[in-house]
Amino acid sequence: MEAQQGSRLFDTLNLAFLVFAAALCLFPIINVLSVSLSSSSAAAAGQVGIWPVEFSLSSYSYALTKKSFLTAFVVSLKRVALGIGVNMLLTILAAYPLSKTKRELWGRNLYAWFFFFTMIFNGGLIPWYMVIKQVGLIDNILALILPTAVQVFFVLVLMNFFRQLPKEISESALIDGAGHWSIMWKIHVPLSLPSIATLVLFSFVFHWNSWFDGLILMTSPARYPLQTYMQAILEVVDPLRLKGMTAEQIAELMKVSNRTLKSSQIFIAAAPVLAVYPFLQKYFMKGLLLGSVKG
């Protein structure tokens, strides 16, 4: 009886703590959403909390007709589509052989260390930049994709997942005459969908959120991905540059210092990530393997 009370108390406290932690994470997002839906003067006065004040959609209509924002959005979509494809293809192709034992793949440990080494050591920013420049990728969207084409962390995750698949399945497939290629695509990949879905999500978030490489590797804002564009508008304006301003510039500056517009762009930029999470959720189900091996 006492033990039960104790555990109930623990549950209550635990629940309260988790709700609190979740609220801490959720509140800033709700605040950004509310600011984006408020009038700009209410937002500038800092009066917006959880609910929008003086509801307005004007910041969204402005953001969605702003050409540079839309261009950057399209670049990001391209990057994500290409990036996920390249990431996942190479991850699967590397993880399958590495999941075999030393006896099945000659020099397997050497390969593994070869990959692992790059997780710990890298050349640093400037050599990285020089290499990309020398191979002529500057200004090319591939510059945002090829340098991170193999994510070693993904390979390790998937390799370990492949390893704990029951050996009997691939053995029986071998007996039935399947080669490694068919075993990989027709058995390992379908059985690893939960893990692959997770990696797709990681890859998506990684490519969607990267901004620094866009800044360094693109020579004009017209080729920026969305988050590089966002970083520029969220930086503070240098007040020393306000000299001799014309009416258009003043109007432009006011748009820049306009918190509702920034918030609406933050929210539009975050929306795809928010939308993809629940969509991939169904792959996270457990028990995909139940009943595949009998006895």
């Binding site: 700009s40 920013l125 930049y129």
Partner: protein
């Protein structure tokens, strides 16, 4: 095996170092430059000058309408037709990201002919030998008007671009007139309480008390503050304490000449202690936000916008941000600039600092480096509406004429330099034009534009309030003009690039100042701790910095 790994490791380190940037070395000795027959001679065949470009909000907008506007605009056409110079921009980047992008390019030594830098990057390029010594070149090729601009600027920006007696960059002059500090007050609150703008610090304290206690906004709530203050305390240009300290003759971050002509640092003078003690008293009396230590400019701006704050120290530009937001929120908010009050009995002098906004460094590998000086001459010739007989409206921007060509604007200039005192002159002309309607004052298109905007404000369009409050007859330049007429300015005695100790110790010393001053203001430490701070400052490298500054001078 181990030795092999080590070799690979060392090899990659070596490559990393080889690529890590230009090795520090002496730049090539400057050869004397023969005076050319004609500094305006056109190149035939044309030469190409490479550079990089920081895009303003205006240009980013223009790019949406005309994607090739950076390659084809009024300035690039002028450079090609009049000078025979083609511009090749290696990259363009929004201004907010410029410094970061350039820093990478400097580290990778992937630089154009003309490199626009900030003060820190300028010093880096000089030290690493990338910057060309252009002392003789500038002497030979600078046009009479270019020299006149340097004189109007009192040679301040040229001195900033000079290291060890050699000129290493063409400075962009913006004019240190705009460094002036002002006291901004809600005039409608003054009126509601039947008070006058303060002329002494004691009156300022009384005003702050009245603003806190007497409900100046008349909403019946105890929600107003005496003085807006940001956590950084100094040099933010909005809601900082520079103006307050100057009233005591204290100059944070400035260098002053003592009676024997030696330079001494403003931060450690006894006047600082008096000023700090007064701020601490105001904090204790509740006249300053008790939570100011966590409020940045954006947070204080919420206070000026929602009408909790009615007094701030700030520079000329704050009507654009954030005061305009307050005007949009409350049409009665009537912020006005006033001269700094005084705590010493004699008129307060405001400090004028550096005058260079950007440094155009010429790459020591540049062919035809005189082309860069020609670009500067050309800009001044076409842009300086107040001094140049050749100035053309289309190079400045055809605003105010009713039709706007998106590719005709001064911001496209690859090497720029403004007129040092232009804002005061603009203010003066605008005032005369508004008073008399005489067209001779409005020959410069900007004057007409300002007048139109001010007229629109008087018609009740509050969005134009900031133009009115910035360049209007009672705006900041009426006060700044008074500073100059009454000799209420003092030049910061050291505006050159950082000395080695400044680079090395500066950040730690700034941190020390921020911590000590914040503690004294909030009452965590008594004002007497200031003496301890001075001793610590000297010990931690301040003495070295002072010695180096005096040696350079």
């Amino acid at each position: 095996m181990k030795a092999g790994l080590l070799a690979v490791f060392l090899f990659s380190v070596a490559i990393g170092m080889a690529w890590a940037g230009p090795a520090a070395e002496e730049g090539p000795a400057a050869a004397p430059v023969a005076a050319p027959d004609d500094i305006w001679a056109r190149y035939d065949p044309p030469v190409t000058v490479t550079s990089v470009f920081s895009l303003s909000a205006f240009i980013e907008d223009a790019l949406n309408q005309k994607p090739d506007v950076m390659e084809d605009n009024v300035w690039t056409r002028g450079y090609r037709d009049d000078l025979g110079i083609e511009i090749d921009l290696l990259w363009t980047v929004p201004s907010a990201q410029y410094d970061e992008k350039l820093s990478i390019a400097i580290a990778a030594n992937d630089l154009p002919d003309v490199i626009p830098t900030n003060a820190i990057q300028f010093k880096l390029l000089v030290d690493s030998g990338v910057a060309m010594d252009i002392t003789n070149l500038f002497e030979a090729y600078a046009s009479p008007l270019t020299r006149q601009m340097q004189e109007l600027d009192n040679q301040v920006s040229i001195s900033q671009a000079t290291v060890d007696g050699k000129l290493y960059a063409l400075p962009l002059i913006y004019g240190n007139v705009d460094n002036s500090q002002l006291l901004w007050i809600r005039a409608d609150w003054l009126e509601a309480l039947d008070m006058e703008a303060p002329t002494t610090i004691d009156e300022l304290v009384q005003l702050a008390e009245a603003f806190v206690n007497d409900d100046p906004d008349g909403n019946g709530e105890d929600d107003t503050l005496g003085l807006g203050l940001v956590k950084d305390l100094f040099s933010t240009g909005f809601a900082d304490l520079n103006g307050f300290f100057e009233a005591f003759g204290a100059y944070p971050g400035g260098w002053l000449e003592d009676s024997s002509g030696n330079l001494m640092y403003g931060d450690i003078q006894p006047e600082m202690k008096t000023a700090l003690t007064k701020v601490a008293e105001m904090f204790e009396a509740g006249l300053i936000d008790q939570e100011f230590v966590v409020k940045d400019g954006g947070k204080v701006a919420e206070g000026t916008t929602n009408g909790n704050i009615g007094t701030v120290f700030g520079q000329h530009w704050i009507p654009f941000w954030p005061l305009q937001d307050g005007k949009n929120r409350n049409t009665n908010a009537d912020w006005r600039p006033f001269p700094l009050p005084s705590a010493t009995g004699s008129p307060t002098k405001t400090m004028l600092g550096g005058s260079a906004n950007r440094y155009y460094v010429l790459n020591s590998e540049m062919q035809n480096p005189e082309a860069a000086v020609k670009l500067l001459n050309y800009f001044i010739q076409k842009y300086s509406s107040l001094y140049s007989p050749d100035y053309e409206l289309k190079y400045i921007g055809s605003t105010g004429t009713g039709e706007t060509n998106i590719d005709e604007y001064w911001e496209y200039g690859v090497i720029q330099s403004w007129q040092p005192n232009e804002n005061i002159v603009f203010w003066d002309l605008t005032k005369k034009y508004l008073d008399t309607g005489d067209e001779q004052y409005a020959e410069n298109s900007l004057i007409k534009q300002f007048s139109v905007d001010i007229g629109a404000y008087h018609e009740g369009e509050d969005v134009y309030w900031s133009t009115y409050a910035w360049i209007g007859p009672q705006g900041p330049y009426s006060v700044i003009d008074g500073y100059f007429k009454n000799g209420q300015t003092i030049q910061n005695a050291y505006v050159k690039a950082n000395t080695p100790s400044m680079t090395e110790r500066g950040p730690a010393l700034s941190q020390l100042r921020a911590e000590m001053f914040t503690k004294i203001i909030t009452g965590a430490e008594s004002p007497d701790t200031f003496d301890e701070y001075v001793a610590t400052w000297k010990r931690l490298g301040g003495d070295d910095i002072t010695a180096e500054v005096n040696a350079v001078q």
